[in-house]
């Protein structure tokens, strides 16, 4: 089996109950798995389900372990490996605060425009930009803002979904 470290984007449907997220996070910390990003939000009020998107990395065997261990948790309804089941869309949102005056302020606005960032708050000495896109795009934007008065960053982590008509349920892992 390949010992190469690979990234995986895994979606988990889990019952929206207290302690459910702690089970998932505890599983990762307790077994020493890596978490690069983890996002969670309720997605189905009627069935009381939340969706967790977790970006992790490991050998093929470790990734398989992570999925099997997640599927074993009682409140988990399904596990879908978005990396393994075909192309997927992954997006992240960032709020970036830049404190600057004069020329750097103008430069910041130009770059934000090029990145299609929205200005969601402004004062004479500051901006808050809202930017959505891939992690790499957000990283690049933050780096460009660093010399222009970057003061604060808040990022959501990745939300991801498979491309095409296939859904979570048709692509979920079977155990």
């Amino acid at each position: 089996m390949a010992q190469d470290i690979q990234n995986a984007v895994i979606a988990v449907l889990i019952e929206n109950e207290s302690g459910a997220l702690a089970r998932v996070v505890g599983l990762f910390s307790g077994r020493g798995y890596n978490i690069e990003s983890l996002t969670v939000s309720a997605v189905d009020a009627e069935r009381k389900l939340s969706r967790i998107t977790v970006v992790t990395s490991g050998t093929e065997m470790v990734i398989a372990q992570i999925k099997a261990q997640l599927a074993r948790l009682i409140p988990v309804h399904g596990v879908c490996d978005l990396t393994a089941t075909g192309p997927h869309v992954a997006r992240e949102m960032a709020l970036v605060k830049v404190v600057s005056h004069g020329e750097t302020r103008t430069e910041g606005m130009r770059i934000a425009d090029a990145f299609r960032a929205h200005i969601v708050d402004t004062t004479s000495g500051s901006f808050v930009f809202e930017l959505t896109g891939s992690t790499e795009k957000l990283d690049a934007f933050v780096e460009l803002m660093r010399p222009l008065g970057l003061a604060e960053v808040s990022r959501t982590g990745i939300a991801a979904i498979g491309r095409g008509p296939q859904t979570f349920y048709s692509n979920q892992e079977s155990f």
Partner: protein, 597 residues
């Protein structure tokens, strides 16, 4: 009042949460609860007092309640039930819960909790029990609403016993047990979707396994506790499968008894203290069929050198065990008993000639790797292996149904190597967690479940002291438990590793200031016996077995005896140490190997 009217009144009368809890336990066929009262569970204890369907066994420490329930579950195949109070009651139960999790034992732990309004306020005897026990249980619940109580308890039993069994904790705030709660009909108000693990292995995987079995010249069944958990039919199936295929069988510590250890096809236990023939067969086989075992590190040793040339099939009910440690060629996901049944149906008897393989195995067997030297003069010091063998032989003569529990350490390995088990569910030992202090409370649980059976705790003197207070439980319920202590005045396994790995610097492993076990037994209203040499051993065992009450037998054994054979940490299976004369080889243990101990 006529009967039907009375029944109607009972049905409509408001029930307290505690009463609802007990009704659901009765509905789940619970007969025994092991517990210890406290403030947060007083309503439940009051409800217990006012009924006679469920028997409560009062232990002396909550850890012991869990171990007793574990042994009750393992020896009966039922779900064990524990009742503890909030805070320290629940935290004392944690070791037992992890023990049950590691060894896949179905348990329900009912823990009291402060009233819901006080949760999070650092109230008296409050602990975040669900938080603390999250990684210690298969699943846990905090009951927040009276209407959730009955559905949660019902679901908890399903989760505990379904699939790969495990412990489930239900945290019960006092206002929930004091206040009224509904008792819906079964199946109503479920919290989660029905827990339904896959039971039948893929038909194609069965075909691939059969094809591999037909090709194999050196096949081996590597069996584990999963077979015992699956139920008696799985053990029967294994015996039939081994008989019809002629394939040799080895077992993990947890699996002992699933296949008769006295059978010619049984090679003994494998792994760190397994037999030479079992480990050489594991190393040399060309087909390894794992049945309800999980490639634990005590079995595999060095993973990259484990059974290097075999095609590997793994039957397990837990998908997370497949490919966890060892790369598997064919997974058989499902109940191992059903998998064995499917293999039996598909096997047409046309395998390879296994006689060359058996000839090789017999060559390894001829080494008698479990052999030991016992000077038979009456004053001679007792070798612990000899003590276990004599215990087995003299127990055999009685023909009684016998259950053996153990503590953890050298005595546990000697018991596994030298006591024989021809039936499943008779060997109750802490495998995965290795919990010193397991055996005495486990003996309580086994004796409660089987009042007429012979229950022996083969113990070490250090482990014995970890839950010695349970002699009080044994006295209270007049349990004729036999505590058979192999007393070498050391934490023997620690001492052995210090000898092998740390230049014989016996740091803190000597059992200083031991009690007089005879007087200790008498203090707890029992009988104490002692054997200090070979001449006294048989007499002590005979007296112990003949006595119809609890006995503590202090068997003073050689202090310098080590457990052999042994795979030194970090070595492959074909580099075993067979005895003390080979201990010099332990110098080969690398720093990486030391870390694996």
């Amino acid at each position: 009042m006529n009967a039907s009217r009375q029944q109607e009144e009972t049905n409509t009368k408001a029930l307290s949460g505690a009463e609802v809890l007990l009704r659901v336990l009765v509905e789940q066929e619970v007969e025994v609860v092991f517990g210890y009262p406290g403030g947060a569970v007083l309503p439940i204890y009051d409800a217990l007092f006012r009924q006679n369907r469920i028997r409560h066994i009062l232990v002396r420490h909550e850890q012991a309640a869990v171990h007793a329930a574990e042994a009750y579950a393992r020896s009966t195949g039922k779900v064990g039930v524990v009742l503890v109070t909030s805070g320290p009651g629940a935290t004392n139960a944690v070791t037992g819960l992890v023990d049950a999790l590691m060894d896949s034992i179905p348990l329900i732990c009912l823990s009291g909790q402060v009233p819901t309004a006080l949760i999070g306020n650092d109230a008296f005897q409050e602990a975040d029990t669900t938080g603390i026990t999250r990684p210690a249980t298969k699943h846990n619940y905090l009951v927040k609403r009276p209407s959730d109580l009955a559905p949660i308890v019902r679901e908890a039993f399903e989760v505990a016993s379904g699939g790969r069994p495990g412990p489930v904790l239900i945290d019960l705030p006092k206002d929930i047990t004091v206040g009224n709660a509904p008792l819906p009909t079964s199946g109503e108000g479920r919290l989660h979707r029905r827990y339904a693990p896959r039971l039948d292995a893929d038909a194609d995987a069965i075909k691939q396994t059969i094809a591999a079995m037909k090709r194999a010249k050196r096949p081996l069944f590597y069996t584990g506790g999963g077979i015992i958990n699956s139920g008696p039919k799985a053990s029967e199936g294994l015996r039939e499968l081994a008989r019809r295929t002629g394939v040799p069988v080895t077992s993990t510590l947890m699996g002992l008894g699933a296949f008769p250890t006295t059978d010619k096809q049984f090679l003994g236990m494998l792994g760190m203290h397994g037999s030479y023939e079992a480990n050489l067969a594991t190393h040399g086989c060309d087909l390894l069929i794992a049945l309800g075992s999980r490639f634990d590190d005590r079995v595999t040793g060095r993973v990259d050198a484990f059974s290097p040339n075999s095609f590997k099939v793994h039957a397990d009910i837990d998908p997370a065990q497949i490919n966890k440690i060892i790369k598997i060629d064919v997974p058989l996901l499902g109940d191992v008993g059903r998998t064995i049944e499917a293999l039996l149906q598909a096997w047409d008897g046309e395998g390879q000639d296994l006689s060359p393989w058996w000839a090789q195995i017999e060559g390894w067997r001829a080494l008698d790797s479990l052999g030991f030297q016992q000077d038979m003069s009456p004053e001679a010091i007792i070798r612990p292996q000899y003590a276990v063998r004599r215990l087995y032989e003299m127990t055999q003569r009685l023909g009684r149904d016998t259950f053996v529990t153990t503590e953890v350490g050298q005595h546990q390995m000697w018991a596994a190597q030298h006591f024989q088990f021809d039936k499943p569910n008779r060997w109750l030992t802490s495998g995965g967690l290795g919990t010193m202090g397991y055996g005495l409370p486990a003996a309580v649980g086994a004796q409660i479940a089987h009042p007429d059976a012979l229950v022996i705790d083969i113990a070490g003197e250090a482990s014995t002291l970890m839950n010695i207070q349970e002699l009080g439980t044994i006295a209270q319920y007049r349990l004729p438990v036999k505590l058979f202590i192999l007393n070498n005045r050391y934490m023997g396994m620690v001492r052995q590793w210090q000898e092998l790995l740390h230049g014989s610097r016996y740091s803190q492993s000597y059992s200083e200031a031991l009690p007089d076990f005879i007087r200790l037994a008498e203090a707890f209203h029992g009988t104490g016996l002692r054997a200090t040499n070979v001449g006294e051993l048989d007499g002590v065992i005979e007296k112990m077995l003949a006595h119809d009450g609890p006995v503590v037998a202090d068997i003073c054994v050689a202090q310098d005896e080590n457990c052999f054979p042994m795979i030194p940490s970090g070595a492959p299976h074909n580099e075993m140490l067979l005895g003390p004369d080979q201990e010099a080889n332990a110098a080969k243990i690398t720093q990486e190997g030391m870390m694996l101990v």
